[in-house]
């Protein structure tokens, strides 16, 4: 499924490269299908950077990321973007609603980016139902609370039934009930065969994970 070989990420604070900040130390990492893998760690420890590296959104300083046989960073942007659209569901940090679209349209957008066939509206409504925001389908993101917008982003990431789900703090802004619902949904997604990465501070998330890693100063260790 998704695996990283020797990936690292350095940021050069000076043009001559004399001041280097290493966000992710050289790491081998694998996301097995059918499992939820959790990464915890303090803010700024490099969790989100690693997630972005795995999502094909941030080129690593060293190493490679493979999705099955595809070397992500060897692909041209068009092919990488299409692959991400079809196979990788990313739940980014923070608010990620497109304000010109309704909640339902936001959720369906990944399906419309490249698709010419019918959009999976029934699945979208089902996901919204599962997230408890079905009645907000025709509302615009500007009218949603932070938690509702978060759940909308989760539904959107899962709309195309991706084989890899990369969730960055998916339960931020959520109350306990909704946190449980989201984690349960991600667990179910893994049960259906997806490889799920859960980057979180959520103390109880480990109960839903098959493997737990910890990130400290860019170094990833299994717990």
């Amino acid at each position: 499924m998704l695996r990283a070989e020797g990936i690292s990420k350095n940021y050069y604070r000076k043009r001559d490269g004399s001041n280097v900040f290493t966000a992710v130390q050289p790491t081998d990492f694998e996301l097995p299908e059918g499992q939820v893998t959790e990464i915890t760690g303090r803010s700024g420890s490099g969790k989100s950077t690693l997630l972005n590296l795995l999502a094909g959104l941030l080129a690593p300083s060293t190493g490679k990321v493979w999705l099955d046989d595809a070397d992500l960073y060897a692909l041209p942007d068009g092919a990488l973007s299409r692959l991400r659209n079809r196979r990788v569901g990313v739940i980014p940090q923070g608010q990620s609603g497109l304000h010109s679209l309704t909640v339902l349209e936001n959720v369906l957008l990944p399906a419309r980016l490249y698709g010419r066939g019918p959009v999976p509206e029934a699945r979208a409504r089902q996901l919204l139902e599962r997230m408890g925001i079905a009645d907000l389908a025709d509302v615009r993101p500007g009218d949603l609370s932070g938690g509702e917008m978060r759940r909308m982003a989760i539904a959107r990431a899962l709309i195309l039934e991706p084989s890899v789900v990369l969730a960055d703090e998916p339960t931020g802004d959520l109350d306990d009930g909704n946190t449980a619902a989201v984690l349960e949904l991600l667990r179910d997604t893994a049960r259906q065969g997806a490889a799920v990465l859960l980057v979180t501070h959520e103390a109880g998330a480990a109960r839903y994970a098959d493997a737990v890693y910890r990130m400290d100063s860019g170094r990833l260790t299994r717990e």
């Binding site: 989100s48 950077t49 972005n52 999502a55 959104l57 941030l58 942007d77 068009g78 990488l80 973007s81 299409r82 692959l83 991400r84 659209n85 079809r86 990788v88 990313v90 980014p92 940090q93 923070g94 990620s96 609603g97 497109l98 304000h99 010109s100 679209l101 349209e105 957008l109 990944p110 419309r112 980016l113 490249y114 698709g115 615009r140 959107r156 960055d168």
Partner: protein
Amino acid sequence: MIGKLSLKNLAGKPGRTAAMVLLAMFLSFSIFAGSLTVLSLQQGLNGLEARLGADIIVVPYEATTKFDVKSMLLQGNPGYFYLNRSFADKVATRPGVEATSCQLYLASVSAGCCSVAVQLIGFDPESDFTILPWAQETYHGEIGFGDVLVGSDISVPTDGVLRFFDVDCRVVAQLAKTGSALDTAVYANMETIQALIEASQAKGLNQYNDISADEVVSSVLVRVAEGYDVESVKNDINLHVRKVVAVRASNMISTIADNLTGVSRLIGAFIAAIWVLSLVIMMIALTMLMNERRREFAILRVMGASRRKLAGLVMAESALTNLLGGAAGVALAALVVFPFSGVIEARLGLPFVLPGGGRVLALALGSLAACLAAGAAISAVCAARISRIDTSLILREGN
């Protein structure tokens, strides 16, 4: 999908969209209204040059103090001066003079057609080489007694009869527009003019009681033979024919041409200023917009939109706003220039003839295309910037 998303983005932010549409509207309005005005002025001058039709105009010496071709052409003020026909014969015999044609000016007090006195101009259809070629665009028949040719601005009654000094005159043709005072003149042969002179004398309305169309003329139009220098022929007439002054026709309209050049330059500078200003504002506005929308683009990248798709989104939105604004600008310019062409003509004091439908359409499409191209060029710069965004960094901003 990109097209639909663009539409929704534009509809979702009406204030932002309106501002961009307004900028595009300024661009197309300025270029269409400005170029249409310049083209109309150019067309007016060309028409005037063509209608003047003579290389040299000869008038009585005494007329030089009260005769100004520019005012005759633009304000319809030919002046009343007369010259014995024998001088016209002398002019005709000078070397280099290929043809001459005489004209006689007479003002009517009023006519049913007009709210002000119209200029009655007598000409000789046999020798004429200026009025008939003009008339032949619409009329090929004879100009008999009582027949008149009227300028384009003369209102012709439904029965085609105009009455001057109680003499009925049949309108046989209406001349093409020149954008000058020639458009408010009425042309008749010398017989008709003689009848009108007599009718005016009978009514006591003519201050020149002793004139006769058989004996006097107001001006002699001269066509110079091929191979002769117009300036030399003019000088020769001035030297050898007494009591007259010969003036080059091209010199006469050179003032108008100079004015037109000045006005055209002014309009050109105005268009350039609006364009520079609008393009700078558009560039700043789009750059600010793109910065404001960085997170939106980053989210699209997360969903799998390629850099090309993002660029396409920016370009599509720009094309839509520029198309809408451009079309609105062209329509607004048309609403200003067409109904107010008379006012523009009067204000500028230059001949003004709107071009034909085909040229106007081409100009409108050209203006729209220029507006779209300018918008596309600016959007392309913004799209290129967007394609370089660091998605991961933007996603972390503000969290």
